[in-house]
């Protein structure tokens, strides 16, 4: 914790968990989608389902899906902006169970048919916990800068990425691997110490076997 966790974040109101955290969850789906989004299906659970209209959680999630940050003043108009860009939106209020009261599942469909599904919870103070990406279990909290590497489950990829980071002088503080099935799709989540100005994702995206690599900046990063 530093002073900007106490006086901060700079954000669009009204609630760090119902708006700022929701934008962050939406934004991860946006970052994982590398083609133009045509459809966004959003399922809301718990308190998100009950109070999203009053808190503007729907606008916040859509703003994130459109790539906005939690302090973007266009969040208010995000639904209108998304519709203008031809994104078909649908909201489902679920009364199903969820591990955390402020949970949303987002499925994005791209113009070439790619699909991305994530489930994330807003756990307070704008902090989030993404628990699932495309059916694979993850635990991304965004407290540190985090690389998410979607890849084929073949030998050598984890080592190659880790070696590359080491060569860049970057220290790994947490690393987790999850896969659909042996030899199938896999996700590697790597949290790093501090912040790197290097364009890590462009390099990693060139590695054979990597389908998509994105960088998620820490919550109070700039």
């Amino acid at each position: 914790m530093n002073i900007f966790d106490i006086i901060g974040p700079v954000m669009i109101g009204p609630s760090s968990s119902h708006t700022a955290g929701a934008v962050r969850i939406g934004r991860i789906a946006h970052l994982l989608m590398d083609e133009k989004v045509t459809k966004a299906e959003i399922t809301l659970f718990g308190s998100f389902a009950k109070t999203y209209k009053g808190h503007g959680t729907d606008k916040a999630l859509v703003a994130g899906i459109m790539g906005m940050q939690p302090d973007d003043e266009r969040i208010r108009e995000s639904i209108h902006l998304a519709e203008e860009e031809g994104v078909e939106l649908s909201f489902v209020e679920s009364d199903g169970s969820c591990p955390h009261p402020n949970t949303a599942t987002i499925t994005l469909t791209g113009e070439k048919g790619k699909k991305v599904t994530i489930t994330g919870a807003s756990v307070g103070g704008g902090n989030i916990l993404v628990s699932e990406i495309d059916g694979m279990e993850v635990a991304i909290n965004g407290q540190s800068d985090t690389l998410i590497v979607v890849h084929q489950d073949v030998p050598g990829i984890v080592g190659k990425v880790a070696e590359f980071l080491g060569n860049c002088g970057i220290n790994v503080c947490n690393m987790a691997l999850s896969r659909e099935k042996k030899g199938g799709r896999a996700i590697l989540c790597i949290s790093i110490d501090g912040h790197s100005d290097l364009d890590l994702t462009t390099y990693i995206n060139h590695f054979v076997g990597v389908t998509n690599c994105i960088m998620l900046l820490a919550n109070n990063g700039r």
């Binding site: 530093n2 700079v10 954000m11 109101g13 308190s47 109070t51 808190h55």
Partner: protein, 297 residues
């Protein structure tokens, strides 16, 4: 220098030993902790202060309306009251009430604010600091430094108790904001680090036990008015401390008492909108108005 922000007494003692304000200790220590220069920390806090000032001006507008439609436009009324020379308590206090209301209303209207320490309590600290600049002629530099003192206080509270309404009730959100604001005002008024701590203790004691019971679960009723009363409480505490009045109980102990009280507050009174003001018949009507009748089934 390594500081864990576990104790306000430690912060004040360090400041006393070095013959400086709490803000300078926080600035030095945070630059080290964040691996950057003091100037970078200061500049980032200055940008933050500018966001607060913009929010204050934006929120004063007559047409500020929340997403739910339940609140907005009250800061404008206070401003008009001041302009017409009708303020009972003078431009200092009424100006602070207006600023806290403006920022809090802008928050409910999905405007850009700074959580301080939370979005629900975002009006209190900026209202205190901006009022010291506008009404007492404090320099911008000193105001930015006062925010550093406030964040030092906030970190100690977060480490020993909580700054979240869902965990500790409104006392943890508006109470912490009020305590942070009280320390900032004392420093800006030329008070000692010790007086800052007395102000923190007094502010927290006055708001101890306040529950978090938002109507319809929204950060509007009673949150916006509690931001106004939160800054008034900060001014009260700061004024008493500046008179040389001491809190019989040290700030660090009061923070632990707040934690203890927070743990005993029933979950229905911790942001769940299941008790307190949220269960008033009129609150339920307002809830229906926002969400349709689904909630009342």
């Amino acid at each position: 220098m390594e500081l864990k922000y576990n104790s306000l007494a430690e912060l004040a003692n360090l400041a006393k030993k070095n013959g400086c304000n709490i803000s300078q200790i926080v600035l030095q220590e945070q630059a080290t902790a964040m691996e950057c220069t003091e100037k970078q920390v200061f500049e980032r806090m200055k940008e933050t202060y500018h966001v607060m000032k913009k929010a204050e001006l934006k929120g004063q507008k007559k047409d500020t309306v929340s997403t739910s439609g339940l609140t907005g436009g009250d800061a404008y009324k206070i401003k008009k009251h001041i302009t017409e020379g009708k303020s009972l308590s003078g431009d200092f206090l009424t100006g602070a009430l207006m600023r806290a209301t403006a920022i809090s209303e802008l928050n409910a209207a999905m405007g850009k604010i700074v959580a301080a320490p939370t979005a629900g309590s975002c009006g209190i600290l900026p209202a205190a600091v901006i009022t010291m600049q506008e009404e007492k002629g404090c320099s911008e530099k000193d105001c930015v430094m006062a925010l550093l003192t406030a964040s030092g206080v906030g970190m100690v509270i977060a480490n020993n108790a909580s700054v979240s309404g869902a965990e500790g009730g409104c006392q943890a959100e508006c109470g912490s904001a009020s305590a942070m604001a009280a320390a900032a005002i004392v420093e800006l008024a030329g008070g000692t680090p010790e007086q800052c701590l007395h102000a923190v203790a007094i502010a927290l004691k006055n708001i101890l036990g306040l529950v978090c019971d938002p109507v319809a679960g929204l950060v509007e009723i009673p949150c916006i008015k509690r931001n106004a009363s939160g800054v008034a409480n900060a001014i009260t505490a700061a004024e008493l401390a500046l008179c040389g009045i001491k809190s019989a109980l040290p700030a660090d102990e009061v923070i632990l008492a707040m934690k203890q009280v927070g743990d005993k507050i029933d979950v229905s009174l911790r942001e769940t909108a299941e008790g307190g003001l949220a269960s008033c018949p009129t609150a339920k009507c307002l809830c229906d108005k926002v969400y349709g009748c689904k909630e009342s089934k």
